[in-house]
Every structure is written in C-alpha cells, then in structure tokens.
C-alpha cells in the first residue's frame, strides 16, 4: 500500500507539490493524470525517495520511504528517463539489479526475458528508447515488487509492446497483488487498467475517484428540442460545455447529471440520452473547468 501524507515540495518560490494526500490500496492500480508541469514526475520522484519533501511523508506498507530506504527493495520504478548508466552493458545492469535486490526472482526474470528479449552484450547507450524501457520493465518486474511505480512507461514502445506491457501489469495485479501507481498521458491505456484516477494540477490532487465515480460524475447528454433551450438553463454552474447543431444540443455536465436530465424533460425533448465519455474526454472537460483550457490540453 502507498500512503502519501501532506506532501509538500517547493523549488525556490514555486510550489511543485502542495499538501498532497492520497492512498493506493494494495493490489489496485492508481492512475495519475495531469497536464505537463502539473507535478506528476515530482510527486513520483518524491514517492520513490529520489527527491526529499519539504513537509509530509510517504509510507509504503507502513514504512517511511525517506527514513527507511530499505523498503525500496520491494518497490519497482520505471521512469521515462530511467537514468541507467549508458556505458553499462545490458548484462551489467542485470547483474547490478540481481545483486542489489534480495527478492530478485530468477524464474520470473527468465520468463520476462523470453517475452522482452534484449541484446545482453549491448551497451545501454546503444539501445533505443523502447529497448531501454523494456529493460527497465524487465528488471523492475524481476525484483518481485510489492509496489510498482511507473512514470510514462509506454512512451517509446510500439503498439504491440505497449499492449504486452499493459497485459503484464494487469497480470501482476491479478496474480501477485502488486500495488501499481502509474502516470501517463495516454488516458485510453489508463482506462483499461486503472481502479482509481487522481488528477493533479498545479501541485495539487484535484480529484481522486474510482473510474466508475469519475464516469458517473461527468456525463455527456444529447438532447433534441423543437425550441431553443433558454440561456439561463445553459449557464448553470455544473454545465461544463454546450455544443449546438441545429436542434440538437450536446451538453457536458459534472455532478448531478440526473438533475439536469430531469430539468431537460420539462422542455419536451424529441430525443434525450446520455453518452458514455472516455477518460480522455472527462479529463479534458474537468481540466477545462479548472481554468486549464481545452486548447491547452489538446496541445499537450
């Protein structure tokens, strides 16, 4: 289990993390989402003990990561920029991990090695970005982690490998009860594997909800009416976005979509239905609601 308590970190005057609190339950997958510069990587680096917090603490299975680094023997870490020594050969990296982690699982390593074969004699600097990510995944899954922290793990992987990696993560949770914290910009991937999602913006976790809650809280309603809907109705605080094409309105609503549906019934609609939204849509509309413009989000 990962427990983050009052985590605060500033870079000079800039608050990178602002009193962050959340928990990742054992055997679950927690997805961390946020625009560039929101504080995702800083949060992950602080959770891993790479950065020291100004205030607050990170507990992994009840142990403070910064006071008891030994607990990291049970934590795997896969980052976008892993920082492996470029002059090390693949076999050197394997040796380094094998000798560092007491829980090294040789059987698991051999299984994964067949799945993600890599040239043993090649230096890290000569590996492609995708190969380096594969090496990081291979090594960090071979340590039999109780907790796995991944920062943009699928960047640089081709679609086949990406799917393979996601399947492995699902398998880790299902068969080994591994706790996973994953940060990625690819929200479609998160949607497939996450139990809960945390949206981080300006160093604060704005939402921390299960995928179901998140989907229920933000809904897209399509309504066709003979007469235009009144402006006052469309300006309600919980209506995030309105699009009109002729007599058809598409309304994005957060919180209490049922109430909006009931109100729309009063206008005798020709058509009234809710449409499922993807996590990506929810993220975009929610961030738009927090003053982070749709254009900016799409520009990411």
């Amino acid at each position: 289990m990962i427990r983050v308590e009052h985590l605060t970190k500033t870079f000079g005057e800039y608050p990178a993390l602002d009193n962050i609190d959340f928990e990742v339950q054992p055997g679950s997958v927690f997805g961390l989402v946020g625009p560039n510069g929101a504080g995702k990587t800083t949060l992950i680096k602080t959770i891993m003990g790479i950065l020291l917090p100004d205030r607050g603490r990170v507990l992994i299975d009840g142990h403070d990561v910064h006071r008891n680094p030994g607990i990291k023997a049970r934590v795997g870490y896969v980052a976008d920029d892993q920082g492996f020594y470029p002059h090390f050969k693949v076999r050197d990296m394997i040796k380094f991990y094998r000798n560092t982690y007491v829980n090294w699982d040789e059987k698991r390593f051999q299984e994964l090695w067949h799945l993600f074969p890599l040239p043993e004699g090649k230096r890290v600097r000569h590996l492609s970005k995708g190969m380096r990510t594969r090496l990081a995944v291979l090594l960090n899954l071979s340590i039999a982690p109780a907790v796995l922290v991944l920062d943009e793990p699928t960047s640089g992987l081709d679609p086949v490998l990406r799917r393979q990696l996601l399947n492995i993560l699902v398998d880790e949770v299902a068969h080994r009860q591994t706790t996973i914290l994953i940060s990625t910009h690819n929200l479609n991937e998160l949607e497939r594997i996450c139990d809960r999602i945390g949206i981080i913006h300006n160093g604060r976790v704005l939402f921390n909800e299960s995928l179901e809650e998140m989907k229920q809280n933000v809904r897209k309603i399509q309504v066709a009416v003979n007469e235009p809907l009144p402006e006052e109705f469309l300006k309600q605080a919980n209506i995030l976005k309105v699009e009109r094409r002729g007599r058809v309105y598409t309304i994005v609503v957060r919180e209490n979509p049922g109430g909006v549906m009931a109100e729309l019934e009063r206008y005798r609609p020709l058509l009234l239905e809710t449409i499922d939204m993807s996590l990506e849509d929810i993220f975009i509309y929610r961030m738009g609601g927090m003053g982070y413009g749709l254009e900016q989000t799409i520009a990411q």
């Binding site: 790479i50 980052a79 892993q82 000798n99």
Partner: protein, 349 residues
Amino acid sequence: MGWNKLLPNKTLLWKESKNSWVMAAAFFGYITFGASFKLIKEILTYLDWQRMNNHQMADTFYGMYDIARLLSFNEASAGFGSVLITIMLAATMLGRERDLNSFNFLLAMPYSRREIIYNKFMYGWTQIAAIFGLNALIMTLLLWTVPGIEFPFHAADIWAWALRNILVLGFVFSFTMAISSISGTTFGNGLLAMIFLYFPLGLSLLIMFNLNYWNIMFRHALFLNTDIVLLLTVPTYIMQDDVLLEQNLPLVYGVLLVLTGGLYQLTQYLFNKNHLEKNGEVLVFEQFEWFFKLGTALCFTLLGGPLAMRLFFPHSGHTGAAPGVIIYLLLAVSFWFAVHYLIKWRKTV
C-alpha cells in the same frame, strides 16, 4: 550507522569501479610509471653499466637519486599530477552521476544517501591506498631482492612516501567530494576544488604581487609567511620538503587525518541537504553564492588591479593611493556584477 554497516557494499563498489576504471587506470599508470617503473629502469641501467665495467658511470648513478628525491617530496610535477588526477577522480564520482542523471535510478534503489556516499569514499580511499601500497610493495621487493646495489634510500623511506601520499591525496579526494556535494557538474566540481585547494597559495601570491606593485615591503606579515601559506595549502605536502621537515610531522599528518574524517562527515551532511533538483548548476546551494561571488571579485581585483594601474598610468611609477583605491573599488564592483550576471545567465540557459 551500525558497525555492520561499516562494511562497504560489494555491489556499490563494483558499480563505482565500472564507472571510474578509466580514471583509476590512468592514476595507477601515472604513479607506477613515475615510481616502480622508473626504479626498475634505473636498476637495469645500473646493471648494464656494471656488466660493461663502467664503474665511473655506475658510481654516479644519478637516476637512482631521482627516485630518492621523489621519495623525499621533491618531485613537484609528480606531486601536482597526483593531486590533479585525484581531483578528477573525486569530481567525476558525484558529478558524473548528475551529468548522466543516474542519481534518479540509484536513489530509487534500496540504498540510503549515506550508503551511496560512504561507498564512494571507500572506493576512492581504497583506490589511492591500493595504488601507493602496491607501488611501495614492488619498490621494497626490488630493494630487497636486487643484489649488489647501494640504494641511496631505505624501505622505510618508500613506505613513508606511500603513507604521505595516501594521507594527502585522501584529503584532496575528500575535499573534492565535499565540494562536489554542493556543486553541479563534473567540470564545476573539479574547478572549484582546484581553486579552493590552492587558495592559500594563490591568494598569498596575489597579495605579494600587489604589494610589490605598490612597493610595500611587509615581509614579516603573518599572511605572507611562506611556511604558514604552504602549511595551509595541503596539496604541497607531497611536493615540498623544506617547510614540512621543520614541522612535527606526526602532528601535521594527524591533523590532516582528522580533517579528512571531518570532510567525509561534511559531505554526508551536505549531500543529505542537497535536494538534487538543481542538476547542472555550478552551485547547488544558493546561500553559498555570495561567498563565491565575493571570492571571485576579490581574486580578480587583486589580479587586475596592478594591470589596470599600468594601463591607466603607464608612465607614473608612483601615482598615490587615491586613484589606486578608486580603480581597485571599481574593479571589485565590476567583477562582482560580472559574476552575478554570469550565474544569472547560466540559470536561464
């Protein structure tokens, strides 16, 4: 730290050796070439002369006296080279991790910051001790096994040479590591260590340069006392004999050993305080910047003062104090702002 944790971590030492083997090999080659190899070469030359019955040449045997001089500190270039390689070895140990961004994955592993630093120190100290220990052993064996040569030194001299070098270079290594814990890149670490290690010698030379220009004879002033300046410039301990031989050697080297231990603790403290978020900057701790700026402005003013005086008053040997004070102040302020904006510019790049 518990006693069991005083044992170095084999995996971290292995990692250090993989990271620094080029530097270590260069260091070993340099010392071995200047000590053991040179002794072997001189012995072979001597034996050749003996075979050729060239007793006159064999009697003078100058080469062997070079070895004797090396053992009694006199080889200044050898000493400076050792200091330089030691600085480079230490500067890369922390700097390279920052340059490669490898602290990210190292600190994500189940190693504490203290353990990482401790093993870096153990690797560096062991490296230095092994290089000199091995050379001393080879030289002692040669001394004992080659018959018929009157060596102008004893085995004790060889081991004293090795011990002096281990102590001084151990200090230089620790000093550079301490500097590296507050500095950024490998280059920055090395440069700052060089500046601060030779600071007493450099500053006294600058002061003497200025006093000479102004014809102020202040020979007995404390800060100009050569003995004190050389004692404060630790790297010269393996290059100068006349100052040190007058001193209480066990006391001097004892103090050096304590200082080395203190520098190790200081490095641990500073590295633990260093939050690493400012990779690549010259100085990681902003609060040290004023000291850095002040030192740079002072040194450049002392260097540039007499030169500026010659430029503005080329024909007057003695211009009086007032123009001099103004020029020195202007230089100090200019250099302060130059460094200030240089640091500011670096932060934006």
